[in-house]
Symmetry: C2
Subunit: 143 residues, 2 copies
Amino acid sequence: MDAETIQRSLEDGGLRCTPQRYAVMAFLMEHAEHPTAAEIFEAVNRLDPRSSRATIYNNLRDLVEAGLVREVAVEGRAARFDAKAVRHHHFICDRCGNVEDMEWYDVPKPDADSLGKRVFREYELIFRGLCARCAPRRASRHA
Amino acid sequence: MDAETIQRSLEDGGLRCTPQRYAVMAFLMEHAEHPTAAEIFEAVNRLDPRSSRATIYNNLRDLVEAGLVREVAVEGRAARFDAKAVRHHHFICDRCGNVEDMEWYDVPKPDADSLGKRVFREYELIFRGLCARCAPRRASRHA
DNA sequence: TCTCAAATTAGACAGATTCTAAGACTTCAT
DNA sequence: ATGAAGTCTTAGAATCTGTCTAATTTGAGA
């Protein structure tokens, strides 16, 4: 991933390109496996230890607000983050909580009637089940 | 909501009908506004204070496992719970985090190809935007 | 009634995230 | 350059959500 692209996308989002912010964005663009804040903190500081935990969280919040990063809440687990540019759905594993990307396809949006006074921004489709790693041992669930 | 219905649904789910469990289930069936665990704890004990916090969490976990209650994770906020029997989608407010029900409609499921070795269990559609209460003041965001 | 598993409890604990207060860095007008 | 103002970062404390522990109570069935 080319540095200028990252810098430009930050600036397009109205964010200054600081080394710490750059590191978070670059890491997310290079790692599609939906890391948690803790994983990002560890990985970013392993390369060059100069981001505090608060800064990771601050920058993730800024990136989400700027629309450059998506946050995925998972029941009972830490949030996961995702900078993939192309639109996609998500598959969440019931057992391990991992989040995987699924190919995008449009579905009908709710009509104005059912929205009422709400302002619609976007939708996403979440699939649940067992990921490829967990599926084979699902029998052990009933052990 | 009739007491026998609640009792029966608990027993159908393989759960003993204790006063504490009953109280959680009854509260959820009577309150469709997707309360958090903390809200349930407070409300249930306001009526009749005999449930500890751990019991609320234990019972919510049991009810979710029995399929009687749905848990909705919301980014950066406490999980919300929902005992509505009829299938529905959710609308989550970007600003206040409230969860509202949206009428159900089927959408195409992912095909076997894109699932690969994953085991599909269910899907849900999540709409995001601003709820009726937050929509009018969205301008203040840029203040 | 007796027994045993299931359920409950208070409070300690843990993990995730936010807050605070201080300092460092940028920007920009002088 | 210089200084003011705002933005960013920091370490650690604090908060919030949720889980665990160990002891006790409850309840269904023998």
